[in-house]
Symmetry: C2
Subunit: 330 residues, 2 copies
């Protein structure tokens, strides 16, 4: 059995997650890449590499070359815009012996297209916030009182909470649609938001872990405080949504509980920003990644964690000298 060498790309500020991987890959190697030499996650692993921005032509060629030079055997990206890029290049990586930990391109696309996700959920009978991609259909729905205000106006293909607006009037929705193309309107779901971390085994394609947290406070678009919860209905919803979805690896679900009915809000087909809460509660995805990369199947352990553990994020810091910094850049 070869020891895996995982390269984590676009690692950014996710230092804690890199630390967990380093911890769980004691029989193996973890390297980190980012385009910004001031990405703190770079410095959590002994091997770090500055790479071009993901939108540069030749980015994938650069990664392929880096993987070959450093004998990398697996690749994991932490940001949305890189996933499709990697998903469509898995064969090129496979040809040099690198496993890309990513869902297939069609599954990634579904997750990133909020309107397609709404249509998919409607077809599958999964409750989802009512979503409109055309002003005409939204106006009609308002006239028919199918949807009320406030609503959210967001980019159809947006990531995280970027450019999400809470809007109170039809006129404001119309103004926003005039200003920018590619927007959707989504109904406001009034209830607690659950963040759910899910692992789908890369080999068996079975759901092996589900961790549920209630989001208590947000900060800079991320969960800042949360509470672990155990709910069978959420476990069932996740399994239902994932059946035949093609999604694999670490996933992050947003779900709203509106008076006891669960509404799927979105799926991010990657590690969620709130995953450290799950790890701290013993729900260990990096160890499952390691086992998968060693050719071992993980057994399902759904709901094996303690409920009512409160997680609070706070800051820590890393110091790098100009000399180290220059060394990293070259």
């Amino acid at each position: 059995m070869n020891r895996p060498h995982l390269l984590i790309t676009s690692a950014g500020r996710r230092a804690k997650l890199v630390e967990y991987f380093v911890q769980e890959f004691q029989e193996g190697t973890v390297s980190v890449a980012d385009c910004n030499p001031l990405a703190p996650a770079l410095y959590m692993a002994p091997n770090h590499h500055i790479v071009p921005k993901i939108d540069q032509p030749g980015y994938i060629d650069h990664l392929l070359e880096l993987c070959q030079r450093e004998q990398v055997t697996a690749l994991l990206s932490l940001i949305d815009p890189e996933l499709e890029l990697l998903a469509t290049a898995t064969e090129r990586f496979a040809a040099i012996g690198v496993t890309v930990i990513v869902s297939p391109p069609s599954s990634c696309l579904l997750c990133f297209d909020k309107y397609a996700m709404f249509e998919h959920c409607t077809l599958q009978g999964i409750p989802h916030a009512k979503t409109y991609h055309a002003l005409t259909s939204f106006r009609e729905a308002v006239a028919l009182k199918e949807v009320g205000f406030p609503v959210f106006v967001k980019p159809r293909n947006g990531s995280a909470s970027i450019a999400v607006r809470r809007v109170e009037t039809l006129e404001e929705v119309e103004r926003l649609f005039e200003q920018s193309p590619g927007l959707i309107v989504q109904e406001f779901l009034d209830g607690p938001e659950l963040g759910v971390d899910v692992y789908v085994d890369l080999l068996s394609h079975e759901v092996t872990s589900i961790f549920i947290k209630e989001k208590l406070t947000m900060r800079a678009g991320e969960t800042d405080k949360s509470r672990s919860v155990l709910r069978t209905d959420v476990f069932e919803l996740v399994e239902h949504v994932l059946a035949e979805s093609g999604l694999v690896g670490p996933l992050d679900f947003d779900i709203f509980d509106v008076g006891g009915t669960l509404y799927l809000s979105e799926i991010n087909p990657r590690f969620g920003g709130g995953y450290p809460h799950a790890y701290a509660c013993g729900v260990n995805f990096p160890a499952q990644v390691w086992r998968n990369l060693c050719g071992l199947v993980n057994q399902p352990h759904i709901g094996h964690y303690q409920e009512n553990l409160y997680m609070m994020k706070h800051d820590t810091l890393t110091l790098v000298s100009a000399a180290q910094f220059e060394q990293t850049k070259h």
Copy 2:
């Protein structure tokens, strides 16, 4: 010599700073208070207390009672709105043997009133962003081309970056002034921003430490990445500004470098959110607080740190069980 017992109030998310105090008060005690049992800084010290919100009537009485019960000898708040409250109550605390680490009320007031600070700087010959508290004088200045766009519109008494708007036209400034009272207009300073951590000895009233960092990236209103710099002109400006200001203890300056001219932007008469960068570079305020509380004067050590050390913040987390949480609340 009695060992000091410091109570840090409104500690919030500033876990790292509390950790430093615990580290430096090995001969002494550190306790922490906050109104929110989910404030992570609470859990960095063995003794933590949930207190009323600072705007509750009886807040000061509650603190006095707590100090007496726990034999607290000194008090330090980490947030702006509490400073004036404590500054006007220092005698009540002194009467029970508690030193409040805070500047006098008039000095605090000056720091929190952006227009007063502008007038003060103008009188002292200290460059400061041009500031207008009346629409008429701003319109006049625009007509005379004394000030151009963009400008910043902010609350005259605002804290941090709350409700600060970058505005491009006179019409927009007029609209904002119509909507809310208590606004000022400030000229836009185009240049690198420096964050400066300063310690003024509580006993000698001398400036003992100055740490300068260039702010490189902001996040959620705080410095996220910065670089340590050594600049004699900044040291001189800080000493000039502080002479006869009455300000003592830990202070946080914001300064803009506009083509080599230093403009004072604001002074926060408390620990700055970026202070951990200074501590990591060896500029130790908690140790100076400890010495002062032991009756010892600190000697000036201006500029004793390494330049070109890059600081990157990232997240860590603290987990608290529902049981611990309940225990803290009572």
